[in-house]
Structures are given as structure tokens and as C-alpha cells.
Amino acid sequence: MTKEIICVACPVGCGMQAEYAEGGSIISLTGNSCNRGLAYAQAELTNPTRMFHSTMRVEGGPLVSVKSAAPVPKARLMDCARATFAVRVRGPVAIGDTLLPNVCGTGVDLIATDRTI
């Protein structure tokens, strides 16, 4: 089987052609300029992941921005968005604080990327 994949590892955005076996393991890859392309293509074929970023409401205050501490499965992004929407955190918040541990059972924490003080 073959698939066209555009690499998002860096701003170059290589157009790659992957030939892969049942289960997603890559047999051959063309079009990539570096090994990060191979790693990205392999992940895209088996378990595509993305960083997640959003905001959370702070009780009695404004919003605070959050990100996933590591990439989450791409298919779970909208679940993460819905879970984040429901959360109310108690301030004050500092950068790096864990605001939602193990979001949607992905094993990844949502952490604050801004501070409220």
C-alpha cells in the first residue's frame, strides 16, 4: 500500500510517498529530506499525534492558556477540546502547573502556558 504524506516536522514541509505493509510499518519512503520525515511518516501510518492547545476558565478571573505536555493521538483532539471546555480551575496559576492530569485517558497532562499573576 502507498500513501502521500506531507511532513510537518519543520517549516520545509516535504511531500513524501510512503510504501507500507499491513499494520503500517514503512517499507520505503521517498521525498523526505531528513530522518525526522521518516519518524513522522511512521507515526502518521500507525499512531498520528498532535500537540493540543486551548484555554481554560479560571474561577472569578480571565482565561489561562494550556497545552498538552506531549503530543496526544490526533483522533482524540476534539475529545480533549470538549474536556478542556468543562474545566474550571482555581487560581492563581503559574506556567507549567498541571491543570488537567491524564486528559481523556491519553496519559498526557494539560499544563498552563501562562500565569494569572
Binding site: P11, G13, R50, L63
Partner: protein, 424 residues
Amino acid sequence: MYDLIVIGGGPAGMAAALEAEKNGVASILILERAEFLGGILRQCIHTGFGMHYFREELTGPEYADRFVVPVEQNPRIEVKLGAMALELRPGGETHTVIAVSKSDGLLELRAKAVVLAMGCRERPRGALNIAGTRPAGIISAGAAQKYVNMDGFLPGNEVVILGSGDIGLIMARRMTFEGAHVKMVCELMPYSSGLTRNIVQCLDDFGIPLKLSCTVVAVHGKERLEGVTIAGVDERLKPIPGTEEEVPCDLLLLSVGLIPENELTRGAGVPIDPATGGAIVNQNRETALPGIFSCGNVLHVHDLVDYVTLESQLAGAGAAEYIRRKNAGETVRAPEYVPTKAGEGVRYVVPQQAEKNEAAGVKLYFRVGGVHKNAVVRLYANGKELARKKRPRLAPGEMEHIEIAPRQLAELPEGAELTVEILE
């Protein structure tokens, strides 16, 4: 009386102030019109900042905080928030800045040197000539970003985005996460001005179509936007009759370019480069008026904040050297400048001139006019090649640079011009 006034407390202003302080400037004032430092970075909650400068992938607020903390802790840097600079009056010995703030009222401030770091604004609807009514629901992508990420409001549910700049692409994903339905992104040009990775991560991942060579020709609705008419465009970017299509929506986001905000600069009589929309500067980012520097998006629109930081450090260090000379009473010989020029395929080059005896060499930053594959960037003067490099891909959305070594610069003959060009 300050040594240095920095106008703008975003990434450019903070980096310039910190670098000036590091180079010995004793009293620095930052004027920031918002109620917080950090500028536009505070609403850019996605990652992708800092890969070059910090070798880490940070969000906007995290990147800003790396500068906000040292600025706030530095006793030689004073910050006035909620303070809007209204006018810059250049003078021989000192420059005057007129500003206004809620707490201080009208301020008349003096400094030996000034760094302009006001950033840029989004191109507004008025610049586009879209026919139709004037309903609510037509806003810039950056305004939507502020509503969603800082104020906690969703400005619409059925969304069309005009312009595929990075802010528009980022907002397509962001609005989707917040429950809106983003119907399409229309791009006038046959290519996107946004990064490919953003097209993949922000549109393809969510099945949002990108319509190239397509624009909005009319808007509908009286009080509130009810829909838009889109149409394909020909090679001359004119709408093609018969291709019109109505798209119901209650929000139209515009992501159609950024313009350096240079009202203060123009008012002070600083010469502007029509290609960048920013001041004409030398390698230290000093304008044609001695002691007035410019850096960041007010000088030219950058693709990455990392380059804003690096450029602003040049301006901060340049301002520090200017102030040191002033304090020491040194008279400076008028420097010998070599002008830089945009050659074939290049839209502009910054800085516009370089001092011949610059000991550190000079990096020339430039933007190309179109998309090139496997191209060569060439730097030459008077028919002699000085540097060349191969680039697998060049695109108008990405800033490039090429460097000239100090010896090459010093050896240039009288009347030489440094030209950057693209060879296919």
C-alpha cells in the same frame, strides 16, 4: 530624562531594552499601550515559537514570559503600562516622546535614544473593497484570536475565512476546537502564504477545504452577517463571472496581511522604505535620524518571533553604543555606507544599507516574490559574486537571509551596491 525610551513592550521592545541594559545603558523606559507586557504573543497560545532562539518549541505566552520576567526584575528598566505614545519629536541632542496614560495623564518624556518597536496591524476590511452591506460578523483573524483566547467569547458559529496567512489557518483550528464549524478558507493567490505545516495541522486534520484562486466578492445580511458570495479569480486576480457561489455563514474572518504600524515614525520624519512599509535602517537598525532605531514587525513583518528577538538585540546594542558615544562626547565620523538592493525574484532586503567597517559582518534578511523549488540565492556587488547558497524551497511567507563577511564588506569598491537575487 532617560537614556533610552523603547516604544512598545512586545517581543521586539523587550529584547531591545534587555540588550541595551546588558550593554551598559543605565536608565531605560518601556512604553506599552496594553495593560500587560508581551504584545501579541499573549494571544498566540499555539506552539511553534522559539525553535531557533531557545531550541525549544514554546507557546506564545511562554516565549513572552522568558522576556517579561527579566524586564520586570531589572532595576534599570522602568515599564509604563497603559501608556500610549502619541508623537515622537526628534531633536539633535535629545528626542522627545509625547505619551498619554490613565495614571500619569499627558507625559512629555526625553531620551538620548529611542527604539521604535510598535509592531504591526492587520490589514482591515476597508482595504479589500468587498461589496455589500456592513453587518456585524466581519472581523480580522487576530481580533477573533483575542476574543477567543483572551476574552473567552466565540464570535460566530458558521465561519468562512478569507486569506490563508498563518493567523487565519491557526484560527481555523482554534474555532473548530471551540465548537464552531469552519466551512472553508479562501485564498486569492494560487498558493497559500501560510506554512505548509499549518495547512496540514490546521485545515487537513479537520477536513477544512482550502480554496485557492478564490475570493469573497459580496457579503450579505443587514444587522448580522448571513452569508458571503465567493468566486474564482483569473491570473490577473479578477473574479471570473459565472463562478459565484453563495455560502451561508455568520462570521467572516480576514487574514489578508499585516502592515507595520508606523504613524509615529512618519510623524517624526523618518524615511520609510515603500517595499517594507518600515523605516530605512542600517545594520544596527538605526534609522536615517541619528539615535532613532526601529526593530521587529514595525520595521518589516517577520514570519518567526525568533528573528524579531535577534533583530531587536541588534537595535538594543546599537542604541547602547550610540548612548555610550554621546556620554563620552565622542564625535563620530559620518560612516561610509553600502546600499543593499532587491534583485531578481527578491521583494525587499533589510537592512537597506550596511556600514563598510562593520566588524561583525552583516546578515541581509529578505523575502522572495514567488514560490521557488531548488533555487540558488546569490549575493553580488558590481558583478562580482560574494556568496551563494542553495535552498530546496523558497516561499513569500518565509523570511530568508544571506551573510556578507566583514572583509568582503570592507573591500567593496566605492559606489558598490549589494544585491540579493534568486536563480532558478
